[in-house]
Subunit: 593 residues, 2 copies
Amino acid sequence: MYRAPVSEIAHTLKTVTGLGKAMDARKTGDLSEDLLDAILEEAGKFATDAIAPLSKIGDEQGTPLKDGVVTMPEGWGQLYKDWCEGGWNALTGPEAYGGQNLPMALQTAAFEMWNSGSLAFGIGPTLTIGAIEAINLHASDALKSIYLEKLVSGEWTGTMNLTEPQSGSDLNGLKSRAEPVGDGSYRIFGQKIYITYGEHDMTDNIVHLVLARLPDAPAGQRGISLFLVPKVLVNEDGSLGARNDVFCNGVEHKMGIHASPTCTMIYGDGKFGDEAGAIGWMVGEENRGLACMFTMMNNARLLVGIQGVAVAEAATQKAIAYANDRKQGRAEGYDGEGMAPIVHHPDVQRNLLTMRALTNATRAISYNCAFAIDRQEAPDSDHAFWGNRAALLTPIAKAFSTDVGVDVASIGIQVHGGMGYVEETGAAQYLRDARIAPIYEGTNGIQAIDLVTRKLPLEGGDAVRGYIAELKDIAEAVRGSNRPDLDGVADGLAAALDDMEATTEHLLACLENGDKASALAGATPYLRLFGLAAGATYLAASALHSGEAEQADRGAIARFAASNLTPETASLRRIVEGGAKPLLSAGELLKSA
Amino acid sequence: MYRAPVSEIAHTLKTVTGLGKAMDARKTGDLSEDLLDAILEEAGKFATDAIAPLSKIGDEQGTPLKDGVVTMPEGWGQLYKDWCEGGWNALTGPEAYGGQNLPMALQTAAFEMWNSGSLAFGIGPTLTIGAIEAINLHASDALKSIYLEKLVSGEWTGTMNLTEPQSGSDLNGLKSRAEPVGDGSYRIFGQKIYITYGEHDMTDNIVHLVLARLPDAPAGQRGISLFLVPKVLVNEDGSLGARNDVFCNGVEHKMGIHASPTCTMIYGDGKFGDEAGAIGWMVGEENRGLACMFTMMNNARLLVGIQGVAVAEAATQKAIAYANDRKQGRAEGYDGEGMAPIVHHPDVQRNLLTMRALTNATRAISYNCAFAIDRQEAPDSDHAFWGNRAALLTPIAKAFSTDVGVDVASIGIQVHGGMGYVEETGAAQYLRDARIAPIYEGTNGIQAIDLVTRKLPLEGGDAVRGYIAELKDIAEAVRGSNRPDLDGVADGLAAALDDMEATTEHLLACLENGDKASALAGATPYLRLFGLAAGATYLAASALHSGEAEQADRGAIARFAASNLTPETASLRRIVEGGAKPLLSAGELLKSA
């Protein structure tokens, strides 16, 4: 069973990101080290004691739909209520509406633990928090006063409604429409698919944020506006009124996250109300809906990234425990009687260390991304610098972490052997659950393209160059430490960071020379290279800043990563630099006549 | 929907393995090129028209157990009957018992297609065929005359009973026991788990091959014997008699291959018959049961390996079709209106080409392994040479192919985006099904250890050295061809084969120097390196021997592999050569106190 790794998480937050120094310099408001530790401890307890035990029942029961009503699995309604009552939904919410305005970095760490308990649970509040951000930044005061307090407390949940059957990664083709009523409200019509927690029975109301087109709006992305559409209309006194004309007419049967209802939502079908059309209100400006939605999507991307870390952590813990328990075969150096626990076999150690190192590496990257978002928003910081840093790390935090989540969960099954393939054990559920995260909130392919075509060119390339220089400083600090347990780490990191630098310049040159196709061809291997190099560097930083008690463990993980994981960057560099042409010419042959 | 790639399969068999030349030299008995093509065509039709359409219903209905009876999914009984009536179960069976004695290479190709239709279907006959081999090679004439004909025709199915709860990869701990009755028969007692098709309702009888210990047998593996235990006893006239004392008391709830019943079998519980103890007969010599079982396991490993190829092929076809159909985003060079089919995006092309190249590469390796098995058994061949070749390639065919099966199926989901995560589409089922293949018939970790510790040392290392030399000859032939569409391929292959050679010598030196732990630590990355280098070389060979019509396609795949896949060998080499020490010292920290 999952145990929240609170002290490892706190260590990562404090030493691998700048949060420790920021707290020391009292740049984090009320947040002290003691408060941070206390919050993490309690968040971890909730993950371990309350969420994790309900994960399997959620997987088994799913979220059946009957007559438009989605029934959540047994115990999930109470679980959500308890979670809200703990104040957990309000961690980063605006203080004016009952939120605690705590840092994103802390929230990210807490969400890691809750998602380790259950991805299907974690994704619901992830979307509510996104809705809170979008409404807080872009909606009118009138809308804020009606909806924000209840969203911040978690009494109501929020959703994001982007996708339509013909319009997923590309929103140009979006067809849902909004007709002005004349009193400031709109009637919304259309079908939305893949709406996470679009319908459920845990709260009295659900606040949908819906992309739709106004009449006569320009075609394409520049004609899309954002609307707030509650499931139940709210009376002037704040009480709930009539049902709005929106309902769920389908729940997907998915590979995993069965306890997260993925809904088809129908707006304006005339099922409810006297007149067809779901009533909604515009959020932000006309035809600027995508910009508003991206506000919430950026942070949501980080929180989906942390799902990858979360499932990797849970799978790693389970595999290590199993490998210490299960005995098969003889092993050199094992001095017990008979068969050795399989953790004694080097090949099993490779599996477990790969899991552990990749989990810790993606955690460090994701927390750094969260810290950058906090700094970007902090009053006394260099907003442009931290904004660029957050922008640069978001696709890595999302895509590298979620790829790792899938890989680590799959290795976890392998460590369990036949037991891993049997659902009873729970290892298989981790892989089934993990498999969504590289897809939703922008597929990992889209993240790689975003990284290469939008993020590398920030500040003419100087944003990423500055980041690489920082990583190189860490590698040099490792070298300077002369710690014997970090033998070879500085060399391994230096080679990986050289590969990162060379491929970065190569891709920037492709973009500059108008060879965008080659840059796109290299995007995915480049993203992985970036993640491996940065992640392994953070592992070394973590080891460098460890107290004596954990030094050996963290040093060993850093050394494993620098010798068994970062060598891959050399290959990825060759692929980025030399693979594009053969790829693009072979790609032609895939196209149907 | 899957379409059997008959001509690609035939081309691979004829040109990338030695089968074409062997047929030309009339070394393949009755098998001519025309006959080969005709059989492949019909086997492919059965896969496409009969098996594939029942895969989803098998996944949905599974194999419920009630009162010891397992009910197969709708249509599966008839499917199996039709398959047997087509003579497909008898392809390689001994002629004396109604078999067609055709080459393993042909059977492997046919099984690829049937498994592409459904892994859950293919695994049943895989085990029957293994049972036929073991009985034919090791059982008494009396047992053969009772059981073989019905097993060859498929009227009865066969199973392998190795695993017990405490005894999986390591059979030393096996506890099931066999007590001699005195009349040549034995009473078998014990519990076996994970027995594939241990119980089902498709045939009147099931023939279990069961590992058990005789009284006073030595401890460990040298005290294990093999027994034939029918579900229903057979009368002297061949008719079915009383039910034997064996029954299924559990069916696993698995991640995938739901239509393949994975059974817990209870022997000798006294549920059937007057006296407790399932009646069985020894196959092979006392205490030599493992050797007999390994006879069937080796070929079964190849046929499990082909499951990896099979699911990869099916997933690749599905993804390519989807990518040509689904439109999202704008793409450079797309001259249609509006959004482009996603196959136009370079990042999607990378996914699809990776799928296609790995699928074809593992196919070529597996067919080469099958061809070596055929040559090993052929009357006029160098048995030792081909036996070593088969031994060398079996772990690659099993492990590399099934790892590829998982990876390719996972990429297939990614290409489908949200549609891939929804079970309706079928992409998710491929991953759920594929995930068993790296586990059963010897986990891929065990395969890697087998490769390094048993296969590399064959002939003092000269078996693998000779193989690498053959691959280098192919690379040089590519260079000599000067074909512009293979530009760069020879260099890419040469680098990969140099990496293969260097790591081979490194591991042999480790073994020779008594540093077995380092060899074990490098086993898994070495196996992958071996697979990538050999597979990419075969892709080039396939391109080299193509007629004009397919030259461009096969050349492009070979070039993609040599530029975008084989670069990984450089990293794997560094990991094998330099990663063992950090791994082994970090591994210590994983062990519980």
